[in-house]
């Protein structure tokens, strides 16, 4: 029996499916899945050994390694649970101003959406207030990246506030925030409540963004190599199952159960299918690969992903960037991933690091066995991030 903490979100699917569809049992594991009320408490439950593994925001273990937040207990990421799957939404007032300014809510162009939100933004002198679930999250990092690339000085020019996802719609309704970036199903729920219009999937900012990771204490990974290998395999098999289009309906039903998300399956399906309703008026948008669990080695924990996060955090918090890159590089564990999955016949990238943002189209790459394609991982501004050549 292995206790695993999660936050009730669509992207907890690999862990829930690993248990419910028997992939954990295949590896001789029983996952005791424990829902947590907040990211900070989940991080502490993990740090103090109340759970052995956790569904975790990718930046949380990196932030901990840099000494930001938490208790200083070292954590590492055994694999990436999901890529992307968040949405940016704006209040009805802001949406109306953006429409008046000519924005069409195409839901695919980060340049147009960003320019529109900056132009229509709050009254002169006020700062745009954006809610995110946690200070150390891809939500926050992608927002800062997006807005500063478009000329809005971040973090100074924008007020990024922490709002727990279940309270996001309420914060929007009460005028506490002008916009949010949140994981599904909370964006769709805000739309259902009639308080928000969705502007962009975060995928439009960085196609290759790691979102949640399978996090464990570093000490536990060192002490329990066999157990962590079994956990990596069970979760990887669940991710492969989730990739099959035939699995979607059942996956939605399982996630909707009261012990997991306890939400209507119709709302959960939107993220799983990428078929999102973006406005209270019922406008639909189709987003291919809205959230990915498996496709194109999505679950491979690239060191360069952790380094991108470490670099952004260091730049924003005024820490030493070279040191941040070095510390972050140890947080994601392609070595453990490879050791666990090579025997399972998985097709794994030969490299452990890549130039983030350099792949424009699906590209074949070297791998240990079989043919492997990496998916596009472009940033919307066309830049790339090479940890070896980062601007220090």
């Amino acid at each position: 029996m292995l206790s695993v903490g999660f936050i009730p979100l669509v992207d907890a699917a690999p862990l829930i499916v690993a248990q419910e569809m028997g992939f954990a049992a295949e590896e001789g594991l029983a996952l005791d899945l424990l829902p947590a009320p907040s990211w900070s408490s989940l991080r502490d439950l993990l740090a103090f050994g109340r759970v052995d593994a956790a569904h975790m925001l990718a930046p949380v273990p990196v932030a901990s390694a840099l000494g930001l937040g938490g208790s200083g207990v070292e954590m590492c990421a055994l694999s990436v649970l999901s890529m992307n799957g968040n949405v940016i939404g704006v209040s009805n007032g802001l949406a109306a101003r953006m429409r008046n300014g000519g924005h069409g809510f195409g839901f695919d162009d980060a340049h147009a959406a960003g320019a529109a939100i900056i132009t229509a933004g709050p009254e002169a002198g006020a700062r745009l207030r954006i809610g995110v679930p946690f200070p150390f999250s891809m939500h926050a990092e992608l927002l800062y990246y997006w807005l500063s690339a478009l000329g809005l000085p971040a973090p100074q020019g924008v007020e990024v506030r922490t709002v727990p996802p279940p309270l996001m719609a309420e914060a929007m309704a009460s005028g506490e925030i002008d916009a949010f970036c949140v994981g599904e199903p909370w964006g769709s729920i805000a739309v259902e409540k009639g308080v928000a219009t969705l502007l962009l999937p975060t995928r439009a900012i960085w196609q290759g963004a790691p979102e949640k990771v399978l996090a464990v204490r570093k000490g536990w990974a060192d002490d329990e190599p066999e157990l962590s290998a079994r956990l990596i395999r069970a979760v990887w098999k669940a991710q492969r199952w989730l990739f099959a289009p035939d699995s979607r309906a059942l996956a939605g039903e399982i996630l909707a159960r009261p012990e997991y998300l306890a939400m209507p399956v119709e709302v959960i399906d939107r993220a799983l299918t990428g078929n999102l309703c973006i406005s209270p008026g019922g406008d639909m948008r189709q987003v291919p690969d809205f959230v990915t669990f498996y496709k194109n080695a999505a679950s491979f924990p690239w060191r360069s992903q952790a380094q991108w996060i470490g670099y952004q955090l260091a730049a924003r918090m005024g820490l030493d960037r070279a040191e941040a890159l070095r510390k972050a590089s140890h947080v994601f564990r392609p070595d453990l991933y490879r050791a666990a999955l090579d025997p399972a016949g998985a097709v794994i990238p030969g490299a452990s690091s890549k130039i983030e943002g350099s792949i424009r189209v699906e590209t074949p790459v070297a791998s240990g066995a079989g043919r492997l394609f990496l998916g596009p991982d472009s940033f919307f501004d066309g830049k790339s991030f090479d940890p070896e050549r980062a601007n220090l």
């Binding site: 009320p37 990211w39 502490d44 938490g70 207990v73 200070p135 506490e176």
Partner: protein
Amino acid sequence: MKDRLSVVIVEMDRERGVLIEESLRVAGDFDITVVGETNDLAGKIRDLNPDMVLVDIANPSRDVLEELTIASGPMVRPVAMFVDRSDEALTRAAIEAGVSAYVVDGLKSDRVKPILDAAVTRFNMFHRMRVELATTKRALEERKVIDRAKGMIMKARRVDEDEAYAILRKAAMDQGKRVADVAQALVSTAGLLS
């Protein structure tokens, strides 16, 4: 540093807030404020500028307090989480009890300990009360379901109450289930037929 520690308790339930405050007053002379609203929680706490913040782990708004761990300006005092390795037993007790504490960086753990001890005791009490309440509620609900199932058996098989209960109990033993579960199955299935 001030002599009297200032403590903020984040608690939406007013009654619970008062109870925690009372326990802390018994533990020592502190300057205590209860904040009962989530709206702009980080801003409120920044204004109060306390030495220590106590919050229920089950409160999702706890994530808002994480913002305070980032010293974002020269006027903002860095707040560290008390759960560090300096006193792991105390931290573990706090986590088990469901309370988390944020304290100003550099505050000695012996100054914080009496507060956290009192809070842990109080939270453990809340936890017991919650479990007791849930158990009582469940027992009451089960009693109601069993009564309804008995009534249905009495009517359908024209037996008295004791006999109806015996039938239920036998079915439960045969199926290896609890009487309440068999009664529940009967009641919900019968609902389909009527």
